[in-house]
Symmetry: C5
Amino acid sequence: MKHPDPDITHPKIGLAPGTIKYTGSAPKERVKLTVFVYNESFIEMKVYYDWSELEKYIQKFDDSYVKWLNVDGINHIHLIEKVGEHYKVHSLSLEDIVHIEQRPKFEEFDHYLMCIFRAFYYLEGSDDAHKMQNLISEQLSVVLAKDNTLISFQENISVDPFEIIRKRLSNNKSKIRRAKADYLFYALLDATIDYYFLCVEKLGDRIEGLESEVIKDKSISISAKNLFKIYRLKKDIIQLRKIVWPMRDMVNSILHSDNEMISENTKFYLRDVYDHVVRIIDGIETQRELVSGLIDFYLSMNANKMNDVMKFLTMISTIFIPVTFIAGIYGMNFDIMPELRHPYGYFIVLILMFIIILTLLFYFRKKRWM
Amino acid sequence: MKHPDPDITHPKIGLAPGTIKYTGSAPKERVKLTVFVYNESFIEMKVYYDWSELEKYIQKFDDSYVKWLNVDGINHIHLIEKVGEHYKVHSLSLEDIVHIEQRPKFEEFDHYLMCIFRAFYYLEGSDDAHKMQNLISEQLSVVLAKDNTLISFQENISVDPFEIIRKRLSNNKSKIRRAKADYLFYALLDATIDYYFLCVEKLGDRIEGLESEVIKDKSISISAKNLFKIYRLKKDIIQLRKIVWPMRDMVNSILHSDNEMISENTKFYLRDVYDHVVRIIDGIETQRELVSGLIDFYLSMNANKMNDVMKFLTMISTIFIPVTFIAGIYGMNFDIMPELRHPYGYFIVLILMFIIILTLLFYFRKKRWM
Amino acid sequence: MKHPDPDITHPKIGLAPGTIKYTGSAPKERVKLTVFVYNESFIEMKVYYDWSELEKYIQKFDDSYVKWLNVDGINHIHLIEKVGEHYKVHSLSLEDIVHIEQRPKFEEFDHYLMCIFRAFYYLEGSDDAHKMQNLISEQLSVVLAKDNTLISFQENISVDPFEIIRKRLSNNKSKIRRAKADYLFYALLDATIDYYFLCVEKLGDRIEGLESEVIKDKSISISAKNLFKIYRLKKDIIQLRKIVWPMRDMVNSILHSDNEMISENTKFYLRDVYDHVVRIIDGIETQRELVSGLIDFYLSMNANKMNDVMKFLTMISTIFIPVTFIAGIYGMNFDIMPELRHPYGYFIVLILMFIIILTLLFYFRKKRWM
Amino acid sequence: MKHPDPDITHPKIGLAPGTIKYTGSAPKERVKLTVFVYNESFIEMKVYYDWSELEKYIQKFDDSYVKWLNVDGINHIHLIEKVGEHYKVHSLSLEDIVHIEQRPKFEEFDHYLMCIFRAFYYLEGSDDAHKMQNLISEQLSVVLAKDNTLISFQENISVDPFEIIRKRLSNNKSKIRRAKADYLFYALLDATIDYYFLCVEKLGDRIEGLESEVIKDKSISISAKNLFKIYRLKKDIIQLRKIVWPMRDMVNSILHSDNEMISENTKFYLRDVYDHVVRIIDGIETQRELVSGLIDFYLSMNANKMNDVMKFLTMISTIFIPVTFIAGIYGMNFDIMPELRHPYGYFIVLILMFIIILTLLFYFRKKRWM
Amino acid sequence: MKHPDPDITHPKIGLAPGTIKYTGSAPKERVKLTVFVYNESFIEMKVYYDWSELEKYIQKFDDSYVKWLNVDGINHIHLIEKVGEHYKVHSLSLEDIVHIEQRPKFEEFDHYLMCIFRAFYYLEGSDDAHKMQNLISEQLSVVLAKDNTLISFQENISVDPFEIIRKRLSNNKSKIRRAKADYLFYALLDATIDYYFLCVEKLGDRIEGLESEVIKDKSISISAKNLFKIYRLKKDIIQLRKIVWPMRDMVNSILHSDNEMISENTKFYLRDVYDHVVRIIDGIETQRELVSGLIDFYLSMNANKMNDVMKFLTMISTIFIPVTFIAGIYGMNFDIMPELRHPYGYFIVLILMFIIILTLLFYFRKKRWM
């Protein structure tokens, strides 16, 4: 991804509000419409590539069935407009769904509720300098419509956080099967948040790794590689943090909504999601502090080592410079230099030099410079 | 622009409150009054340079027509006073309109609503040291009057954010044509905010550019040019931030106004504007953090390189100083220096020097200073 | 002024609360009582040095006249006590008026409203090290009493922010003349705040001046004078900021007071004052950020220049030390040193030295240290 | 413990919500169920390893007896599920209890109240580099059920903060014996918080110890050991702080709950707990400031000492380099060097060198560099 | 005092709540009970060392008399328990009174109000390194009981802030004499706060003293003494700040209490105390900023001076090293060195050296390094 701040690109200057235009970079494959229809005793999954057929299919089921419609890839505007028309979704909402750099938000409308959030995945990978980030993210939109229907929109860039829910649906005893579409909505949100924990844990592992490297590090200079690792770590933390804070507000506004589409029982579960988001925020803020403490420790540590080296080297120079001067004096070629004639002159000078060196060493030691 | 903080200049000490005096520096050209009169089926655009003619013209249309009056250039006080008189605009409001350093604000009056905000444009340009800023801004004022009329005031310094709206008006199917003046007000605000996204994106590009320069940079010293770029970037971010935060409060107070002039439907669209402003704030705050992380990285990186160089240079001196001292000893001219007479004296001393150099190199290597 | 924080001096330990004692350092001249009595058609100004005469004078005018009583110099406690007694001002209020280090505040009482604030003036002046501040401030107190009377108390240390109001009063068409005492109160507050803009602008000029000095500065070391300028600038900003923030709260509490003495119309004007205070706060906070950005820029800039110089100097030493060692070797006086006898020995050594110097230069260049 | 941030590990991706799975690392011993049944005149303590027997036992006592059921070790899921079933504890609550990285929280349910918090113990120990922390923590969960019953769940990793309560129970005159289960709940919370004070005090001792070491420290370089101590101290403070802040919110929400299970009298005591938590927060925040002040002091102190040393060493070099140059001149072997022939040449040069050295020393002294 | 943070010591782990145990270090002298009984026309002061006698004495006076009971020294638990029993003071309140590390707080009970706060005194004294603090503090507790009685508890460590009130009481015209016990409560609080102003002023003097020392300082290195002074100053500010912030909350909660024991008139005076506390907070926060600005100034100033010295010294070395090399060349003993034979060789080399030195000086000057 090119921009340091993906949320702030591709302005749509000149487009009328409510103009639906996909702004992401997902491949232009055919949109896949996956539909799950289920209740406690029945479940059927179908895949369509065309809206009209799907429309016919779901009209066969009344409101006692939960209908989960997943739109995979959001670049086919016409299809999305048809879905929106059917469920009376406002054009501004559709614009938000296909405009992939939304801030997490929850909005209530007459005929539906809409929730836009962001999934984070952690890409393990080499620490090479060219790869700027380990965290990738993807926009997910969920529309909870009136007739026990939930429509989810995915960019489908990488891992699919909803996969685990599909697996759980197949289990007849699963709580999702006994509940309405709002519980499915909760389940999707919860599954997405679970990946946040993974990201925070991976960031924690990197901090730990850096910490042990820093403590073991015996070399004098700070390795540019470590500095770069710290820089990238900070960038990842900034990016995750930027999304998680509005996530908290979003979940909170769901909790305080009095819309009848979200049952009190589901809200009880959503409180749990809220707790998770708050714990993730706690974790990220703690990591910020830990990283900044680690950097301070690293820099002071190395400034100190560096000082020791420079002091040692300068001390050696300082010891030899005065005695080199004495040698210089007796290297002069004056005709009359009485000392040079003295039979023990040389030995006396050698001893003198030795005494000077010892005195300096003793002085440095006394001053505790060595 | 001369002042680092344009919002805080030209105090009007001594002027009575409500004194209308233009404080900007726009050229003193003739004021141009552009008027659009439209409804769903009709549209007419006229340009006047005189208020009385314009007044006659618009009186021909009843309240079912939206009247958009755009005052281009706000230095002709007399004309603005006439407009204000006609629409019963308070003198304090007129003072705010021509006093170009206002904080974004929304105010409700008996006969009209007033909204003052600021448009930002990004000037691409050379990175030369003399140009202090890439962001230029201009005050825009909008008065929403009772009889389906909107009056906008522009300084007309540079790009015109309202141009796009004029184009859209000509389209008979445009939503603006079907709506009232309050929707036009929303459209103008939305068009202005869209330019903010552009500014934030351009700032993001600059951060990115600096980042790749910093990572690729192999030289020892920090280039003064890069430091200056960072400084200017920070200034631009500070300036944009200063305006965007009150913009949020302004849009929020529009949303919470219960004035009947702004319809619920328009408020729905204004909520979208609010989301945009919040996203811009998020973007700017993230950029602040990214810039500060980048600076820390850059400075540590270079302090480290510098340390390596100084250490290397000092080490070379340290290696040669002791052996130079030995050479100095045998350069002394004492009559009696037994070693000098020894047939292998010279070779022994050379070997001794060689051993000393090797020992020091070995010691430095062992200590991991090299 | 001696104390770095004038708000926190002269505790009155041991004084009973409500003890009225002047704590300032204004000269002990005679107190001057200036009284303006006016309505739309009439205006008279008188100066008294005695309360009883003044009392007689103002009793001639009924409530349709605005009476503005200005107490010039607040060191004559007895007179102030008499004024307070006449208007039923609480002894704690009188204590606040003469105790010159108050925090800006607004208080409502049964018979009057009291507002204490602070005027700031900017003293142009030399940048010499002995003068610690350019901003001087003075406490102003305003009591709005029931019978259309306003009493203002001034320390009279320097410029008089109320002068402009006196001039405007003489104009028969002035809005002040048509309004009641509460509008006069607004006018005084507004005139005082206008001086804040001047101060912020002057601070802005200093920041700008420093900025251009810093950018043009070609010398290696940071000038102590510039450091001191920055230090003083920061002190001025801290001081102004300390007063402006409570000013905002003060104006806000006036706006939210439901006291009938302040009319809705005047509140409308006071909203404008509130906007001004908020703009001043914005300006100061922006200046704080600009100054801190400027300091960072300056320090990095110079650290960098300094590093370049040290690197250059150290490099010169490093280049000459090895060749000086070689010269030292052939300066030794051993009897048997074959090279010395060689006919081209000298030239070979010279060439060798030359090669060593070139190699080092080439190495430094390759490493991009030069 | 491996992770720097233990609260953020072991995500449960893929588990359905309400799945009860122990996530801690406590040894897999048999779960011990300790039950206290008491009122003012009666007390009996029993230990069970099986739920059904315990169930039979407690059914013998009516609501006038307080029943305190302590589950020691939370890895036996089946037993905990049985306990939960009996007291109608929601599966999400049970999940929270066995999922050991919860944020402190208080939740109200129809049949019970649940409170999850964290006990901190301070491990005295060697300051060796391999041990990263002195603070260890453990999750404690308390369920206050309807029929005067309190169930507590412990991980049992180290010291048991509830021990002191067990001792106090045996005293017939103890207030706990006269009160209901809600007072027992308060007593457990209070006992846990008391250990926080101990931790804060121990951290205070470490700060003090570091302070006196820093002040006494006469050596030039910062000891790596001290830097590491500071780093670990900061980590401990960050970790404690992370838990204490949500503790405050938790106790506050207990205080503001209007659930009848917690009597007004107990709330009175809980207010005391709240005060304690706030005092602990005050203490930690003060310690953060003290540590950061100490670090700044230490680093400036040593930078200063280091500068002094480098200045001294460089000064010695500077003094000898010019005179060594003079000696070098008269060591040249030119045929014609008049000074060399002069009878006093040598002495004159020696005196010259002496004068140069004195001049430099005098200059340095005058400039106050020495 | 041993602990850096005295508020966080001596945890009472294991003590039942409400256990009254003195935790301070005041000398174990006999407790002195001083009682003042007064109304407007009558005043009597008695000293008792025994509760029962005192009890008999005060029962002679009805509620029209204010009874002020001062407990001097809080280490005699039995006596304090008796006092508490008589006035129906809750055991938790008594525990707070004798537990000397409370956070300032105000609590309302059925029969009394309790207020715990902290007095600060400034100890003038030598600036020696062994004395860590100039601020000492002491806990004061005030219980306002129903029958016009006020009981104050003092640790009696140093200066007595209540002394001034005792003096004022003897004055028959004093407002205290005409008021009830709640006004006495205000008077005690106000007298205590007045000492805070003194502390802030003394801290201000120290900042000022440091400032002028720093500006006058001509030496190169930062004096360790000044660093230590700054460190201690920061510690004092941190400590004072820690108490003043909760003081504000405390006074605020007194103001918002609707307890009838505190009359509206007294609240009016307490608003004044609130203003004082806010001013003290303003003063401390400003001092924090001033100190941090001063430190930055000091460190930059000295880093700069140090750089100048190092640059100068290195420049001298750099100038002499190339010419010393040339001298070294002509000090070599090769048989064939044509220059040595040249009659003007010596002079040419001397001139060459001179030119090199001049060139370097000129280069340094041109580069503005000198």
